[in-house]
Symmetry: C2
Subunit: 498 residues, 2 copies
């Protein structure tokens, strides 16, 4: 795997001096086109062995290119706000928007590799991390990103030589730390682990580019030319439409029996019982969320449902039991300009709360496989891949001890009509009923089909859907409160790290 | 000051039950109008003595109103990311956008009061904090915000009674902490300090509303009605245009002598000397920013100048000396949708870096008193108040040990013409010259006038302008590097807290 990067690649000064000026000009032009068209972001990961010139290469790139459109992130120790969220949050918050270049010194590979080399994790853990990284990259590429993964390599002998050279020069001496020498001692282990990482994660859409790091001129030119070539090609391709997936979209159940039909929408709760139950479960929720154990948890509750199914009312019954400082409601509307310049999951990642807090999404990331699918706001390919992307996203949340609770509120078509008409009558509820609601209603069957597919494909053991019979609002509210309490209790009982 | 809030205000249950439903409906309607019009944000501060029902009131508001459009922030201990920035950063990051309500439990008054009560600060420090708070609020109000400041009051005797009552009830016992009783012991001191705070910061545009906190029904209704009344009035007023300031805008200097004319634009540096100097100061900057002392500093360098004055080139000479992980360049373009929903300084606050880092603004918050003034993008009132708002903003940065370095790059009108023409010729520089540049050029005198006013009004001892003679690019680059190094060195010599 590293053979070609141990050949002693070298570029003489004359060649270098001749090649750099046109390369710089071409890079600048590519950057300008990239920024002007703003069709895709460029994500550059830089990894490799100590002393192989990772930082120097990145500095060189910044010198060559227009530093206003490229941003470098040194992913060192995470901050406390970052530790409070899933590991990937810190990368999501720094993702470059379309038209920009983001360079990550240190990436989602860094800690998995270091942990494995230091023996803090097992091979199986590493494999899992790599699998996740691969899936993340596939998603980013599918969302339009250009990913370039550079690995700066040195043979063991060359690493020693480089570190000694750096140490000898008073100008670079400060760069060599004790840690570098410690890492050097682990070279063989590091070599094995990183080889395995390259092997597993060099995919067709985001292959590793291994660069011999000893000769600065060779290294710089190689990285510069690779970036230029890749960006230029993607810009030229950007006009062409990508191929659609050939898999046919799922058919509706052919015997008309589907999961939503199995719900007994006639379920009710008497008003008196409702008051008792409401007090009981709100009280329980209040106690749970105020318990010291809760400080270590995070709750993300998510509401989807038919129009007028009563999401708002159900949410208010939850927040009524919470401390206002503790929760945040994110009503999902059309994405903003800044959100449109990012992968579609970005606008949900940005709202992931810190520990000890509750975030309630009023509509959610499932918009992609519901309204966007039915209304044709995204391509078939886009929504068909969204199922697994969403499963990956939720798996990351759950792995970080976030309780993910997902509610689908179902009402019958007749009940919806009754509520629409009622809303049109009542003054301050009139705003709740729009042209769009009537339009959606016409596509009832298509939405129903989309909901069934969604439940089939995203109701997982770690983040199951709770289907809520909502023809009776109070019945729905109690079921929701109960479910929420149960899931929080279950999470509290689980030990950390299990 | 607190007399009216010690009268034993009380609302009986019957009145309460009659008044709440219409109040809730009216609040909901006001919220909907607020969200639909999205003309201004509502900022609610809730302070007061322990046990006076601050948290309960906020929870009640959330219960009454649509929780999707109101967000509560418990401003407890700051995170490490917040500690790394000026105190106000954490409030800026949570400011509600237009059309939304943001509730702050704990505000910019909390720490100044607590610090004074605990004797950690002097009266003069408190006065300074209050002065800053007042100026901040004036700015927010001028930017369109509606600010409501509630102070929940209890007499000493009532505070004791409330705390005891809360302790007796098993359902509320957890709310009373040791700290509450400690604060109770300091009641008198607290009383004196907070009285002085009310007195100094009850301004016409954002007066304190003192609410007796003993009776929950009285407290809730008072706060609810006050909010309703204020929001409703502002919505109804929103159609009307505010009065313009009557002060006339500054006249250009009547004898045509002005600060820019005093610059000797003929200053040059020979190419050979430039290389020597460049290496010298880039080396110096590299050493300074890599010194351990730098970890405790932050640098914000800001570039303004005539079109084609060479900002980009000067910035590249700085970044060439820095580590790419350490800096960030923020090119200021038109504000995004999310930025337009906030006070104009918000989009700069969001880029304030953590310690040990350098942020370079390519154009800046001075846009308001330059292009926005000259092109009429904002009203005269807006740009005239911007001078002091900007001075306040920079004072906050400097107080937090941020080195603020401001450059104005001046070229002559002839030199600009030469560069425009040259740019039109060179392929990859063509993008740099736009219709807008030619249009701006026609307003040369007006811009010059605006620049002179800007320098006169915002070149302060803590954040002085450096005027750079930029007809010779290399001369400008060296002057900029030198200045930057000098200001960083000066900041390093200053002791913390001095």
């Amino acid at each position: 795997m590293f053979e070609s990067a141990e050949l002693g690649h070298k570029i003489d000064k004359e060649t270098y001096d001749k090649e750099v000026p046109p390369l710089r000009e071409a890079l600048l032009e590519a950057q300008i086109d990239l920024a002007k068209l703003a069709k895709f972001p460029v994500i550059i990961l830089v990894g490799g062995v100590d002393g192989a010139g990772r930082g120097e290469t990145v500095n060189l790139l910044n010198e060559w290119m227009d530093p206003r459109f490229i941003q470098t992130h040194g992913m060192g120790e995470p901050s406390d706000e970052e530790l409070d969220r899933p590991m990937m949050w810190r990368f999501w918050r720094e993702l470059p928007p379309k038209g920009r270049i983001g360079v990550f010194l240190g990436s989602w590979y860094t800690w998995p590799i270091l942990n494995r080399v230091a023996g803090r994790t097992k091979m199986a853990d590493l494999d899992q991390s790599l699998e996740r990284a691969k899936r993340l990259e596939t998603m980013l590429v599918d969302e339009g990103a250009l990913i370039l993964k550079f690995w700066m390599h040195l043979s063991k002998e060359k690493q020693e030589k480089r570190l000694k050279l750096l140490e000898k020069d008073p100008k670079t001496r400060w760069r060599v730390t004790k840690r570098d020498w410690e890492h050097y001692k682990m070279y063989d282990k590091f070599h094995v682990v990183s080889e395995s990482v390259m092997r597993h994660t060099s995919t067709a859409e985001a292959p590793w580019i291994i660069v011999e790091g000893f000769d600065a001129r060779y290294r710089g030119l190689t990285v510069g030319k690779t970036i230029l070539d890749a960006v230029r090609k993607r810009i030229d391709e950007a006009g062409k439409k990508g191929a659609e997936v050939s898999a046919p979209p799922p058919l509706p159940s052919i015997d008309k029996l589907h999961i939503l039909k199995t719900l007994d929408l006639g379920q009710k709760i008497a008003k008196k019982d409702f008051q008792t139950e409401l007090e009981k479960y709100q009280g329980k929720l209040a106690l749970l969320t105020r318990s010291p154990k809760f400080r270590d948890l995070t709750v993300i509750a998510m509401f989807e449902g038919n129009d007028a199914a009563g999401k708002g009312g159900a949410i208010r019954r939850i927040t009524g039991a919470l401390d206002a400082r503790q929760y945040n409601i994110v009503p999902i509307a059309a994405p903003t300009e800044e959100e449109r310049a990012q992968p579609y999951l970005w606008r949900f990642w940005r709202h992931i709360p810190r520990r000890g807090r509750v975030t309630i999404f009023d509509r959610s990331w499932y918009g992609r496989v519901l309204v966007e699918r039915v209304e044709g706001y995204c391509s078939k390919t886009d929504w068909m891949r969204a199922y697994s992307e969403i499963n990956d996203f939720e798996a990351q949340l759950v792995r970080h001890r976030i309780v993910v609770v997902k509610f689908w509120l179902t009402i019958s078509k007749d009940e919806q009509m009754r509520r629409f008409k009622e809303r049109e009558k009542i003054g301050f509820k009139r705003f709740k009923i729009t042209e769009e609601d009537w339009r959606n209603r016409k596509k009832w069957d298509e939405y129903e089909h989309a909901v069934c597919d969604m439940v089939d494909r995203t109701s997982t053991e770690i983040a199951p859907w709770t289907l809520v019979e909502a023809n009776d609002k109070n019945f729905a509210r109690i079921k929701i409160l109960k479910t929420l309490c149960r899931q929080i209790e279950a999470a509290m009982k689980k030990k950390k790290g299990s």
